[in-house]
């Protein structure tokens, strides 16, 4: 049972992969070459989709009693920071600052990875795994 859960967990972590993983938000188009601005927009969209997904999952599981209010508030704070990165990225795109938009997308992805890692640590702690 434990091995199965670990396998499912690893598979899922790879699937959401901190937003840059294998599940692309936009349909890859081989025929149309995309501009750097389009690519940066897609990176931000990917980050936004991943953030919505992990936040929704946390909300559902908080309601199911998997987290304390303190834990929920802590992760919500992290998600608000991630949302701010996305907002800054969108603003950067509006003024043509592609590099900054890409940086904000990466910051969002990194923050989601950190939250994922913390959730994993919480789980290990509750199971008494070192």
């Amino acid at each position: 049972m434990k091995k199965l859960l670990i396998a499912v967990f690893l598979g899922t972590s790879l699937a959401i992969g901190g937003c840059g993983g294998s599940l692309m938000v936009h349909q890859p188009s081989e025929q149309v070459e995309r501009s750097p601005k389009q690519l940066a927009t897609e990176a931000l969209d990917q980050a936004s989709a991943s953030l919505a997904a992990i936040a929704r999952a946390l909300l559902n599981d908080y309601k199911a009693g998997a987290y304390t209010k303190q834990e929920k508030d802590k992760y919500t704070e992290e998600f608000v920071k991630a949302r701010e990165y996305i907002r800054k990225g969108r603003l950067a795109l509006e003024v043509g600052d592609i590099a900054s938009a890409e940086t904000q997308a990466k910051l969002t992805q990194n923050l989601i990875r950190i939250v994922q890692a913390e959730l994993t640590k919480l789980k290990a702690k509750e199971e008494g795994v070192q």
Partner: protein, 57 residues
């Protein structure tokens, strides 16, 4: 063990949530939505979930 299992399920569920979002985005793209409309949809989705998280007691 119960809470730990639920926490694992959070990550599993996040994968399913992402798949559902991606499916919606692809439907919108197929329906002719612009990239800006997709971005707005995703950002408003994040805002709604964050508001629900803040409001949850």
């Amino acid at each position: 063990m119960g809470a730990a299992l639920l926490k694992i399920l959070t990550l599993v569920q996040a994968g399913f949530e992402l798949k559902a979002i991606v499916d919606t985005v692809r439907e919108k793209e197929a329906g002719g939505a612009t990239q800006k409309e997709i971005s707005d949809y995703l950002d408003s989705l994040v805002d709604r979930v964050l508001q629900e998280l803040r409001d949850a007691d």
